[in-house]
Symmetry: C2
Subunit: 373 residues, 2 copies
């Protein structure tokens, strides 16, 4: 029996070596597809093709007695790897190769990501340091785009100190609030103006499937080449007015960062042994601790700037604390019944999303299980 | 060129069909391994074998110019599927087949999960409804195990109403707090007593890699067969005293559920369009919204019981609210500098974990990206 087990394990190893081989071959075909797409100027990420490919393989897998989810997860993971490699091949350029792109703050983390991708697409990029704005006057002379990527507290100043730009130059920024920078850009440049908010950090390996929020300023047509470039990189664009953008961000950014911060702050101030906590944690608790702890490996200045960007936020946060206090009073005075009543009210607000989230989270938590060592 | 693209896409489709075939073959070998293991009574999940298998394939993949992470993710995902199927084959039984296992509350979600797995392992299981404790007297006569799996607010009552159990019967519970139930069990049974806290919900497809916390009560030797059975199912056991268990849970369960709850409560009470919020969300925001929203698709009574289980919790929660208020004062009075000072103090508390979490979260967020449609 032990020998039989040994034999079967050798069969597994042989099958897994075949798997390595097959994935390497697939990656090579993908690379060649990338080359052809680059020549054709076609976008890297084509949702319809991806969906059709996955649907076909799911049904094949189910006929073979496998779950559709298994093959879908494996294919999506493999395609991610292909997207990530694509950047080494470069991308088709949609703008003018003769005219430079100027990135103010292009040495910062997010700025340098954009610099790298513009260069991968064949643009000439001039990187201007925030401390050296004097260099701007000369660089912008013939610029097709001036992209401002500086810490949020410098954005307004930097924009107001920009030299006069060519009329047909696009002025854009990457700040995570949009109303104030957009206003400053419109006041300081008479040509095309665009607010951009990349909904991702500087560490993404590829733009494929990443979202960039676009708040229109002036002359959208003249900025089309830039948006088209982002699409060729694989990004999804979502356009909305600057005011709606800022309202939504006050909830999804400020509240989230602050409540994550306070969770960590609370853990640090309670008398807790983090190692023991981790050894006791099921995947879902571990995942939550991870989402909290990861914040503290990042730049505090960045988070300070987001949280302090707008004084209205503080009123919203005070409302949050007030609700927390009220709820605790409900718990102490009404106990179980009060809790269930309030729970059901929130459940109604989430509507069908709650069930969808629960379902979606199963796959994600299982993935967290998979990698747990 | 378009034709060339078409040809290459056909090559991808052919490679993916081979992939389906290969995964089906691998699943079949795994099934046979499961059969042999069942006969040998060997545990389903062997961390060392898994680690060695993955290391070998990583290095092969890297030689072929793939990343090790790609093959590791694909293999872990595939092995998960194998573990999940294993249960259809049943498991070797470590206890006595002649003597029944009695599960009080075995119709509940978590109870019925254990009932199912005991049955898969060849035990005779008697399921007793909480409303029908009269049936207990007869069922426990020759029982090898009485497992109490009832809502937390009933646990103490149910235990105190148990009839006299055979001296060599193991008495255990599945409650998420441990001191009170363990005390009650020790007072009501003179034989082996064991507190169990499964760190997972009732929807897990397999016990493989799941953690069960074990708080010893009395006569650990006589309960060994039960713990060994959990290990054969693939679970990891983690032993700790009941008091330390309860302290840790007040942080990782109560705080987590409550702060998740209040986050949802706050969103529901602000004037927010959830659909717009989702369409704007990057993977990390979507993930967080998912972790909040999923709570509200679940049973409010379960969460009420956990949060209200212990009055000490309320003091801890008041400290949390107080810290949130203090921090907001720091922000308003000291601004950026104050935030950064407090941030750095928490970062020191997280120590090397913060960086590890950040690194781990990259893979998880990319997985969330993969499945984003």
């Amino acid at each position: 029996m032990d020998k039989r087990l040994q034999q079967l394990r050798e069969e597994i190893d042989a099958a897994d070596s075949e798997l390595v081989d097959l994935l390497a071959r697939r990656m090579d075909i993908s690379r060649r597809i990338g080359e052809v797409k680059q020549e054709l100027g076609q976008p890297l990420y084509v949702p319809e093709r991806e969906a059709a490919l996955i649907a076909a393989r799911r049904s094949e897998a189910e006929q073979r007695g496998l779950t559709g989810d298994l093959i879908e997860d494996v294919l999506r993971r493999t395609m991610r790897e292909s997207y990530q490699r694509q950047k080494h091949q470069g991308f088709r350029r949609t703008g003018d190769s003769e005219r430079p792109i100027v990135v103010v703050g292009g040495k910062g983390q997010l700025g340098s990501l954009f610099v790298r991708w513009f260069e991968l697409s064949g643009y000439t990029v001039a990187v201007i340091d925030v401390d050296n704005l004097d260099a701007l006057a000369k660089s912008v002379e013939n610029a097709a785009l001036v992209l401002v990527s500086v810490p949020i507290e410098h954005t307004a100043t930097v924009i107001s100190e920009l030299p006069e730009l060519p009329d047909d130059c696009v002025l854009a920024d990457l700040t995570s609030v949009k109303q104030a920078p957009l206003g400053a850009m419109l006041a300081n440049h008479s040509g095309a103006v665009l607010g951009l908010h990349p909904m991702f950090g500087p560490n993404i390996p590829t733009f494929a499937k990443q979202t960039i929020l676009v708040t229109p300023g002036r002359d959208a047509v003249a900025a089309q080449w830039l948006l088209r470039q982002f699409e060729i990189w694989g990004a999804r664009l979502h356009e909305l007015p600057a005011e709606r953008h800022d309202q939504a961000m006050s909830v999804i950014q400020v509240m989230r960062h602050l409540s994550t911060f306070v969770y960590g702050y609370h853990l640090a101030h309670e008398d807790i042994d983090l190692d023991e906590l981790l050894s006791l944690s099921s995947p879902i608790y571990r995942l939550e601790l991870m989402m909290v702890g990861r914040l503290f490996a990042q730049d505090p200045g960045l988070y300070a700037d987001i949280i302090l960007s707008d004084h209205d936020q503080h009123r919203m946060i005070r409302r949050y604390i007030q609700r927390f206090t009220n709820l605790l009073d409900v718990l102490e005075q009404e106990g179980r019944e009060g809790f269930i009543r309030e729970f059901n009210a929130v459940a109604r607000w989430f509507g069908p999303h709650a069930g969808q989230f629960l379902q979606e989270s199963v796959g994600l938590l299982q993935h967290a299980d998979d990698v747990k060592r």
